[in-house]
Symmetry: C2
Subunit: 395 residues, 2 copies
């Protein structure tokens, strides 16, 4: 394998794309595959395609391909729904596994939807649960014996800071808590050894580093030895042991499939399936090395060219995921000005300019070119242009 594999992606010539950590670009094969699924499978086969195109097994096939990238065994990953839904499933299952405990431990760097879903579940269950959110660097000190579940996003979406998966999981297990990892910014970005971590659950999305497209389905992992004791809160027919027997009572599948819920989004799952082709011969350790090289190059260039930007990510590569963030008071306007000049990163409130490094389709030349354009925007104060001050609905 050699990186990058730019030829597999359809990226506009006038764009340097540093936002693969938010929405990965279009893999060329994905578009073709979508056309086939829509016109041939749906159009020609109609309802028969559930059998003839094996749509029914598609979620599992895709789950197995993701499993390989996150250090999980075949059959341990279910796909579908959104990441928010998968967070809910994992957390509700954890509540059942630790019925006597009433604390969820997360951190205040966690992505808001994870915290919101926890709040929604707590309110639904209505048994006095508490959500604790210390600062990310203080999490280890808060893993105490009253914690039912430790729920953390492995790579902080703002700073890119990495939690130590093995160390945190061990600490959680030492106090008898269930461990849930959100891999939104990890899958396809950093090597993972989920099996080795012994975490009970992991969840993630596929529209970032896995390039599955806008609103691509999410995934959930459950440790194989405990899947038969997981009680699904979202007990949908596709998680039933015999969906088409139309039994009156829920009877969960004797596999990870019990974490499926409703009818799978066949078109988007197929696009994701095609997107995963780019990973066929990829070793995550090669991706990691290249991503650190690109990130370090970018940090050095930006610090030299734009001293007003303050690094908001850990400086040491091993403490960072595959993104680099800089804090800048006028970050929102600066990012708009930068995007206007073809360098696409994104902004996260209150002041974070975020840049993702994705070695599948980026090389050092891109990174240096991006830093030069950023320098123009910052040194020339191009962000002061009034057109960059009005916030769009999605920032």
């Amino acid at each position: 394998m050699s990186l990058p594999k730019k030829e597999l992606f359809d990226i506009p010539a006038d764009v340097i794309y540093l936002d693969g950590n938010s929405l990965g670009p279009l893999p060329k094969g994905a578009s073709t595959r979508a056309g086939e699924v829509i016109e041939k499978e749906w159009g020609r086969e109609l309802i028969r395609a559930w059998n003839t195109a094996d749509w029914i097994a598609l979620p599992k096939r895709v789950g197995d391909r993701i499993a390989r990238l996150i250090g999980a065994p075949e059959g341990s990953v279910a796909t579908g729904d959104t990441l928010s839904i998968k967070v809910y499933q994992a957390l509700a299952a954890a509540f059942k596994m630790r019925p006597e405990r009433r604390v969820i431990l997360s951190d205040r760097g966690n992505f808001p939807t994870d915290l919101y879903m926890a709040q929604g579940l707590m309110s639904t269950v209505d048994k006095g649960y508490e959500l604790r959110t210390p600062a990310p660097e203080d999490v280890m000190d808060h893993i105490s014996e009253d914690v039912a579940a430790v729920m953390l996003t492995h790579v902080d979406y703002r700073s890119g800071r990495l939690h130590d998966m093995k160390e945190v999981t061990e600490r959680a297990h030492a106090v008898g808590a269930v461990m849930i990892w959100d891999l939104a910014h990890s899958a396809g970005a950093v090597p993972l050894d989920l099996s080795g971590s012994k975490a009970e659950f992991a969840v993630g999305c596929t529209y970032k580093y896995l390039n599955g497209g806008p609103g691509a389905p999410a995934f959930i992992y459950a440790r194989p030895d405990l899947i038969e004791s997981v009680e699904p809160a979202l007990a949908g027919w596709m998680g039933h042991e015999a969906p088409f027997a139309m039994e009156p009572d829920y009877r969960p599948a004797m596999s990870t499939e019990r974490l499926r819920v409703g009818t799978p989004p066949v078109v988007q799952l197929s696009i994701l399936d095609a997107a995963l082709d780019a990973w066929n011969d990829v070793d995550m350790s090669d991706i990691r090395k290249a991503s650190l090289d690109l990130s370090e190059c970018f940090i050095a260039e930006v610090e030299r060219r734009c001293p007003v930007l303050k690094l908001a990510s850990p400086r040491e590569g091993e403490l960072r995921g595959s993104q680099v963030s800089f804090a800048f008071e006028h970050g929102y306007a600066a990012m708009q000005a930068l995007i206007d000049r073809g360098v696409i990163g994104d902004f996260r409130a209150p002041d974070i300019m975020r840049f993702g490094f994705t070695p599948l389709y980026l090389d050092e030349e891109d990174v240096i070119a991006a830093a030069k354009i950023l320098e123009k925007v910052i040194a020339g104060e191009l962000w002061r242009d009034p057109k960059y001050q009005t916030k769009s609905r999605v920032t």
Copy 2:
């Protein structure tokens, strides 16, 4: 408007499609739209498309188009997720609205996933809830003062039998219960007056009569006057009043949008959006009249040609949705033999042969031709061929 509008659909020439009640066929515009979204919006605009292609408002735009077809006002329908998830949301909200009650009333004709989701929620909440499922025709007698929520599928998926929406809702309200309608087999099939019924919630899917494609997103309606008091169990960031403010605490949107959960499936929502174009100039009462004509023609033809098949749907049109079912001991094999000859219906355990009538793309000629082929299969006992005896994974 004149029916049918076959020219809008891409149906194979050798197929008579009587399974639009399971998966609608491909609308020609859907395929083009998918290509545009994938290649232009995702491919060219990348992350910017959330603003430039207004992906962020897509769920609401599509919801408003569905609202018109189900007799609901603009702004009252949220889209996304699967029908199973939407059932859970409605039911969990109903629990909060009737905290002192512990009974869910459904019927044993309800689609299994609705019952399963109720069971999953009951187990998650773990406060002694009970799910009662009398026979569909006995539901009215079971709506008692201990019922928190009446949750029914308007058109029975097996028999096609219709509940009287207005009458059942009135009875539910008379005893203080919350009413939840599943419109899976109603939306796009029968005229609906959701507003007039005063039901609190309705949910539905879009891959049947609305032709949104395999795994198309679901929808949920909440009665506008109570939306601000609905407590979302699935408190995802897309239902937050300010998703991009990244606030630590959940604060529900002051609109139906609070029933959104995670990142919307943009590609499948766009396909659905294009599919809804077929409904632009359609009056549901014209659809209903045409569907009853087609159904009655089919019943008459089948009873004359295949006396061994027993009508399993109500004989009177006004008691039936847009499907007709026949019971036949060898229904599974007979349906396979029929499909092999280009007439596509489906089978539902234990012995139901199901046929959907969709006036958007079917006319009387199709229906008579289908009945003739069915006669050949039944009279000639073609279903005895061993190849039709082995059940496929999806039946």
